[in-house]
């Protein structure tokens, strides 16, 4: 089945289109699912991606030559019909739907099934081959309701008015989602952000994601930040940058926070289980829903998902793509 696409350690090659999906090495023709660095690399000759993803790539790698493909729009390439369908992961994220010779293949990139105010929801597309991620592909990963996690964040803030809550959140996607979720819960105070997030937040605003008042966390007196929420990339949580803050409660928004030792290793006091990836139930429910005759697993805890597929009479294989999960996300 489907001799026209080939998984390689460095990406998925679509032969009739002579194009690569999320290649980890520079390629002449690249189809990119979303803007995270482990999927969108710099240096490609020509990129096909959503308008939002192209803007994110331009911000990160300078201008790249690219063709914007709208959700639902069809592009034909060497006899392959290609569509970009919302993946619900981050702004602009897409599943790439490929049709050729009567076969349909869906490459999800990264995805989740729960609502996210910063991007369009995942659309399930029935297919012959479903190429899925498995970042949280173990049954211990069951993300709780986002609202209850946000409530815990706000409660910590209100109990300690003299401190601040420093939330480690990935600069592309998670940070903006956390801000929007806070706004949706009626938190309209200024939110302070690390310098590394400023341009990405501005880009989200340009695409119509309203985030209320954001202020830079640098050059501000510690006392002004008392009782405030501050967002930084996870790498800055325990670094020199955080020394300026007034006795911060260290929080982290990530699916990994479900496991206690993971949180403790990172010195996190307030673990918030908020993920941009599908949890175990979402992964298995999605496979059932799109009902492929074959499932390919790109990266993550693929062993466990592979085992689950086998016990549910679903043909599956692990692709072992290199260089995924490089970004400090989840």
């Amino acid at each position: 089945m489907a001799h026209w696409i080939e998984p390689h350690p460095t990406g998925i090659y679509v032969r009739p289109a002579d194009a690569w999906i999320d290649p980890s090495l520079p390629q002449e023709r690249a189809l990119v699912t979303h803007g995270h660095a482990d999927h969108a690399r710099g240096g490609h000759g020509h990129v096909w991606a959503t308008r939002e993803t192209l803007a994110i790539m331009a911000l990160r790698y300078g201008t790249a030559s690219g063709t914007a493909v709208g959700y639902g729009e069809e592009v034909r390439m060497g006899g392959v019909a290609i569509r970009y369908v919302p993946a619900g992961h981050v702004l602009g994220s897409a599943q790439i739907v490929l049709e050729h010779g009567g076969e349909r293949i869906v490459v999800t990139g990264d995805y989740k099934r729960r609502p996210d105010p910063t991007c369009l929801p995942f659309e399930p597309v029935p297919c012959d081959i479903f190429v899925t991620e498995a970042t949280f592909g173990l049954p211990v990963f069951r993300h709780p309701d986002t609202g209850s996690e946000m409530d815990r964040l706000l409660a910590a803030l209100h109990v300690h008015p003299d401190r601040c809550v420093l939330v480690g959140a990935y600069a592309l996607g998670k940070a903006q989602r956390v801000i929007c979720e806070l706004r949706a819960r009626g938190h309209h105070d200024p939110i302070y952000i690390h310098g590394a997030m400023e341009r990405m937040c501005a880009l989200y605003e340009e695409f119509g994601v309203a985030m209320g008042e954001l202020r830079p966390a640098t050059g501000v007196l510690a006392k002004e930040m008392r009782g405030r929420i501050i967002l930084s990339p996870p790498s800055a949580l325990n670094d020199r940058w955080s020394r300026r803050l007034p006795d911060p409660i260290t929080a982290m928004a990530s699916g990994w926070m479900r496991v206690r030792q993971r949180a403790r290793q990172k010195n996190v006091e307030l673990p918030l289980v908020i993920s941009d990836h599908a949890d175990w139930d979402e992964l298995t429910d999605t496979i059932r829903e799109v009902a492929p005759s074959e499932t390919w697993i790109t990266h993550g805890r693929e062993e466990a998902l592979l085992h689950w597929c086998m016990t549910h009479q679903i043909r599956a294989r692990a692709l072992a793509l290199v260089g995924r999960e490089d970004e400090d996300e989840g």
């Binding site: 049954p139 709780p144 325990n238 496991v259 030792q261 062993e303």
Partner: protein, 532 residues
């Protein structure tokens, strides 16, 4: 259950002691009765449940989920209770997992108390279905015995005392007159009744402590001199029918040293040093041989102890003071009188488990200084100076007792690795592993230190680590082997744990030797000559 499971989660994630105390205090004030009493029992290690075996929990989860997925999950998570808590399938009628509030902590304890070992897995499973993952984790920790949230009984009691504005030593005094769920304690804390009467129970009395000696000398006609033994300070409290042992922090350590508790059947309160018997050290001149602190460490922190451990590391107590004899409180008497009473008390004790800390016979302070300087006994930390007319009073009172520690040993070592600290130091590389040279010209680690430097020096060291990193291993950075640290330590021992075969006691950074080339740092061979 949710309140309790949230408390446990908070204690797991909170690093600072004050933060933990705040959490415990708030819980003790806010949680309902009798839940909070059971929680206090669990936190202080006084919950006596027949433990469910972890194998039974493994079976329970295998029956409910794919065993292969369970094994994979357990490999990933590590901890059994946490794996099962996370993996537990949610009920079909639930859209999201939740603690439905139907189980109170008291109900859980009640259920676990009554259930037979055979019926325990079913009872547990029924309860698991009503809890969220935090609640399931708390339940499994309770059921398997041992919460392991990194707090001592003393800290739990301190948190309780803080919650009601009480003095923890007052709580400690009445503690043994009470039993879980401590209704009388909460009644007293909230002013409904008077203070429970501790009479006849083996309760802890606060220790008398010493200031470091800063004066150049003291007059030995006013002060008696004793060796300061390098074990752990211990209080023996016997009521005649029951004996308890307390650490300096007031933790009940009777379970770790059952042979000592069993050997004391008197009605008295004594203060002494817990030591492990040694081969030769100090036998002649100091009255009885004691091994170095390393040997004692094998026995510390154990909830239960095997016969083998007791044989390999036999413990005894070297007595310093007699606080109470029978119904008579001696604490207001001068030290001289208490000492005479202690000496008279000795013959009634098992000589195999108890001996007397000798008074050092020195005509004047200079002679004492000579004796102190000439001592290389590993079990001696220094000299104690006690005012002959001093009563036994709680805490550190000026000019009554002094500790005059032996001058530390020092070595010039080379920084090899650095790791970030915790809490306020979490952004600083503040824990340093350092090494000395082998004859082959390699550096072997000889110790690790995270104190001794000033805040300014810490900033400088942090910058050095960041600018001289050559490799990273998770949280650890390997640095260029160029910086010499003068390390002070109380003593050094043979150790199988380190590649160099050495382990330092109380290492701290004495000076940063920016002036010294790394090649001129000390050698492992040189350090071995200091082994006591």
């Amino acid at each position: 259950m949710r309140q309790f499971s949230q408390l446990l989660d908070g204690l797991v994630y909170t690093r600072s002691r004050n933060g933990k105390l705040d959490l415990i205090a708030a819980y003790m004030r806010d949680a309902p009765d009798p839940d909070r009493g059971w929680a206090l029992a669990a936190l202080t290690g006084n919950l006596d449940l027949k433990a469910v075996k972890s194998s039974a929990i493994g079976e329970m989860i295998r029956a409910r989920t794919d065993p292969v997925l369970y094994e994979m999950s357990r490999d990933y998570v590590g901890d059994l209770a946490e794996t099962v808590a996370l993996l537990w399938p949610k009920r079909d009628d639930q859209t999201a997992e939740l603690d439905d509030g139907s189980l109170s902590l008291a109900a859980v304890i009640d259920r676990l108390h009554g259930v037979s070992r055979a019926a325990a897995p079913d009872a547990l499973a029924q309860m698991m279905d009503h809890l969220d993952s935090s609640g399931r984790f708390a339940l499994l920790k309770l059921a398997t015995g041992g919460l392991r949230v990194g707090i001592s009984a003393r800290l739990a009691k301190t948190g309780f005392a803080q919650g009601f504005g009480l003095d923890v030593d007052d709580v400690e005094q009445v503690w043994h007159a009470l039993a879980p769920p401590y209704t009388a304690l909460f009644d007293w804390a909230e002013g409904r009744t008077g203070r429970p009467d501790p009479e006849g129970t083996p309760y802890f009395r606060p220790f008398m402590l010493a200031h470091p000696l800063e004066a150049d000398s003291v007059d030995l006609t006013d002060y008696a001199a004793e060796w300061k033994w390098d074990g752990i300070r211990i209080q023996i409290v016997g009521t005649g029918s029951e004996t308890r042992l307390y650490s300096r922090a007031g933790d009940d350590i009777s379970g770790s040293f059952p042979e000592i508790a069993a050997a004391f059947t008197g009605h008295a309160v004594l203060d002494g040093e817990l030591l492990v018997k040694g081969e030769v050290q100090g036998a002649a001149e100091h009255g009885g041989a004691a091994a170095s602190f390393n040997a004692l460490q094998q026995r510390l922190g154990r909830k239960t102890v095997s016969a083998r451990m007791m044989d390999d590391y036999p413990a005894f107590v070297r007595l310093y003071d007699l606080l109470i004899e029978g119904d008579e409180d001696l604490r207001t008497l001068p030290w001289t009188d208490r000492r005479a009473r202690l000496e008279a008390f000795m013959p009634g004790l098992d000589p195999n488990r108890f001996d007397l800390s000798a008074v050092i016979d020195a005509p004047d302070f200079e002679a004492l200084a000579d004796i102190r300087a000439g001592t290389r006994d590993a079990a001696i930390e220094g000299v104690m100076l006690k005012r002959r007319d001093s009563p036994y009073v709680a805490g550190r009172k000026a000019a009554l007792w002094y500790k005059w520690k032996r001058d530390p040993l020092t070595a010039d070592c080379v920084m090899m690795y650095a790791q970030r600290g915790h809490g306020k130091r979490s952004s600083f590389y503040s824990d340093y592993t350092f090494g000395c040279w082998t004859p082959d010209g390699e550096l072997h680690p000889v110790g690790k230190a995270y104190s001794g430097f000033t805040d300014e020096e810490l900033k400088w060291l942090d910058r050095f680590v960041r600018q001289n990193t050559v490799a990273r291993f998770g949280p650890v950075r390997e640095v260029e082997k160029t910086l010499v640290l003068e390390v002070a330590f109380d003593s050094i021992h043979d150790s199988k744990r380190h590649k160099s075969g050495l382990a330092m006691r109380f290492p701290r950074i004495a000076r940063i030797r920016k002036d010294k080339p790394a090649a001129e740092a000390d050698t492992v061979e040189g350090l071995k000559k200091l082994v006591s």
